[in-house]
Each structure stands twice: as C-alpha cells, then as structure tokens.
Amino acid sequence: MKKRVTPGFVIGVFFCSLFAILCVLPLIYMVLMSFTQATTLKLHFSQINLLDFYNYWFALTKRGFAEGFKNSIIVVIGSCLLVDIVSAMAAYGFEKKPLPGKEKLFQVYLATMMVPGQVVLISMFVLVNRVGMSNTYSALILPMVGAFGIFLMRQFMQAVPNELIEAAEIDGSGEVRTFVTIVLPLVQPALITLTVFTFTGAWNNFLWPLIIMTRSNMYTLILNMSMLSGRNDTNYGLVMAGATLTFIFPFVLYIFLQKQFVEGIALGGVKG
C-alpha cells in the first residue's frame, strides 16, 4: 500500500507533533526553572543559571530530601519484592491449581478495583494506627499488593504449558522447586513489567503516605517535595528542583524499560 502525502497527512503529523511537544515542554520548563532563584514575586526566564545547583543542594541538605530518598528507596525496593513474590504465587495458584471456589475469589479480587481508594483509605488509616504500624515502612509496603498485579501475572501464567509443570513433577521435582526454577523464569518478563508498575506506584504514592507518615524523618521523597511550597511566598526555584528530583528516577526507569511499561498497560486493555 502506497502512502501519499495528502493535506490530511500533513495536518495529522503537525497536530501529533505539536501535542507531543506540549506534553514534554512543562517538564523541560520544570528542569530549567529549578536553576533559578525565582519566588512568587519575581519569576523570569532570564534568571536561569544552569551552573547554579544551590536549590538541589538546599533541598537535599536542608529540606530532608536526602532522608526522603533513603525512605523512598527502602519503600520501593520492599514493595517491588513483596508485590512480585505475592502476585506470582497467587497467579500460579489461581491459574494452575485446582482449588474449589478460586474463580469466585478471583472475581472478588477484581471487584476491589472498582472501589474508590477513599473507601479503603479511611478505615485502613484507623486499622493501621490501631495495630501501631503508623510511621513504619511496612505501612507503605504491605498495602501495595493488589488485584492489578495478580491479574497481570495471571495473564502471563496462562502461557506456561501445563505439560512442563507435570513433566517436572514426574521427574521428581518438588513443588517449591518447580515454582522457583521452572515457572518463575518463564514469567520473568511479566515480573519485570510488574516491577516497573510497582516502582512508579510506590514512588509516586501521595495520599496514603501523607496521612500515615506523621514524623518528618519517615517522609518519602514525594512528601518532602509536597512540603516545599508555602502558602504565601513560594520559592518556585526550590519547588521545581524538588519536583525534578522526584521525577528523575521514574523517568530514567521509563527510558530503559519503555517496552515493559507499554506492555503492561496494553495487556490490561487488550487481552483482558
């Protein structure tokens, strides 16, 4: 099929390119403005000095960003490990084991995705406080396990041939060994995809850390960043430096694992 250059084609390319640029510009603006000493009252491009890392230094040393980095990294690593292990196990159980009533339970899991976060959050707050888990990493890590990850893993688990599992069993491979050395390597791409989603989810999580982390030494990076803006006079340069610091990690992850991001989202929408 030959492609002709029609006016419609030109308009389409122009429109798509323009929209793509509009999507990226605010983030470039963010990085540029992080190199200014701009406050609410004086905000201008002419102040940009790309050699001036004062805002970054100030955020890291004076506004708890160094500690925030540490907390966020602990929470993210913990979440990724937990979600990967628990979701893979659950998906394997749901897809390959003959447990009566498992499909009903799976439907219940999926139904929770319709429930607005606030419905869960209010009582989770009461519950987590009651058991003395506020201001702990566990409070941020444990609730990351959810229906989406299990659903995603199950989609991939379908492709693992039953014959392979049965053959391993006949060869005398124990249950744990079969799961760890045969099943997990086969669903490795799915585990990477799930890790990518859990990473950004845990890293960017805001409302739950906001209400459950009351001690500033337990703030995640996002919380530190959120505390930068004052009510009246805001140091925009500093806020943009903070925003840039929170953005770097997910952005680098996206650059390297673009395929996994896209695959995970597409799978939810297409194969479902």
Partner: protein
Amino acid sequence: MTRQKKQAIYGAVYILPSFLLMAFFTFIPIFMTMYFSFTKYNLGQPAAWIGLENYEKLISNSYLHQALLNTVHYVAVTVPLQTILSLVIAAFLSSRLRNRLGDLIRSMLFIPVVASLVASASVWNVIYETNGGILNQLLEAVGIPGFNWLGRKSTALNCVAAVAVWKNVGYFLVIFYAGIMNISTDVNEAALVDGATPLQRFWYITLPILKPITYMVVTLGIIWSFQVFDLVYKMTAGGPGRSTYTVAYLIYSYAFKDRRIGYAAALAVCLLIVILIIHGLQNLVFNDKDDDEPRKSRRLLV
C-alpha cells in the same frame, strides 16, 4: 491423600499470602468504612451507632452539592477529552505514521504518565502563575493581558482538568494503539479494495472493533477522575471559594483534617454507590444489541 487434594492444598498455600494482605488492607477496611458510615466516630473517641444520621446530614450539606457539581464537571471535561485525543492520535499514528517519528511521538506523549501527580501539579502551578508564569508571558507577548488562571472561579477547575488530560493521554494512547495493532490487516485491506477512505475505515472498522477497549478506557477514566485528589490538593486546595472542591477532596478534609471518620465514611460510601451506578449505566450503553464484546474486557474491570 489423593493427588487432586494435595494440589488443591498447594493452591491454597500459593493464594494465602495475597489473601491475607488483601483481607487486612482492602476487604476488612471496606466493611469497616460501611460500618463507620452509620456511626458518629471522631478520631480519639469511640464510635457510636447513629443509624442514618450521617447520610441525612449529607443530603443537606451545601459543600457536598458544590463538590458533586464540580466532580461531574471535572469528569465531563477530562474523560471525553482524553479519550478522543488518545483515540485519534493512536488511529493516526498506527495507520499513517508507523516509523521513527511515530515512535518518538508516542514516547514523548507517555513521559507525563511517569511523573508524579504532585510534581505535575507543582510544575503547572508555576506555568499558571499570574505574575511571570510562562502561560501569561506567552499571552502578554502577543498582546493579551495576563490572567489569574487558578485564582478565578471560572477557570480554576478547567485548569486542573487540563493537567489531568495532559497526564493521561499518553496512558490511554498505549491502550488504543495496542488495540488497533491487534486488528487483522485483512479487514483493512478488504475495505481498501472496496475503495473505503481512511476516514470511512476508521469509522466503520476501527471504531466498532475498538468498542471493548473504549469501554475500558472510559471506565478507567471515570474512576480516576471521580477520585481526583492530588491535583486539587496541590493546585487549588478546593479554592477559590468552593469552586474546586471535589468529592474526594471533601472526604479527605472531613476524615483527616476535621477527624470526623464516621461522616467521611458515609460520604465515601456515597461515592462508591455513584461509581457503581455509573458503571451500570455504562454497561447498558456499551452492551447494546447482541454482541458480547464488552464482556471480554470486563475481566479486568468486573
């Protein structure tokens, strides 16, 4: 023990960790919230059963009326805009621009998706800033006077909605693009032989086949938009006046600022009911005639 039984027990063991976590952090809280909604429960005091009083108070709560209107307004702006934009761009890129430029455009559109809502809100706060924000600077450069975008009742909510659209288009584009790539080329080639124009092919082939995916995109969009919190919290905090109060923001301020857990729980339950009703209506709209296509995609969203 039979092999079947043993396997079933293994199944239970595999599922158990997820079940325990989901129970403690999802199932039990949902039921607790339902219970709290019938109680007067302020943090620090014991919960006391008061029946439907919270719900009765909600009906006459003028903040809620405003928040409901705002939320519906917000959904009505974001959902159609982001759905149509992502669909049209996906259709164009997949049919006419399957090259490096197309890939680059898709990659660029996705970048806002990985940014946190808090960082996005802060960036757009600076863009919308009245004195020296880039938007007003650009307008002033072409002779249009600057405007207090987030400080006016008439524009604040739409400005917040624009940020959501900016952030979501890349996400839904990925879903639509994958859906279009899944359409067999035979169908399109047959239509091409019959002399169908690109627009006709889009309208009569792509769109009907994408129906289940559109259903999912709209459902996800509605659920997300109904729960808008981070953006409102960071950009306007409900103001100016009550013009950007949304239901989710109201729940947050009742529960965690005023510490009225019972009252906030009742409001949260109302939000759940509204989302379920919309979901039901949507099923009616998308489930016309005898095709059961939407059902396929509902595995993810019930």
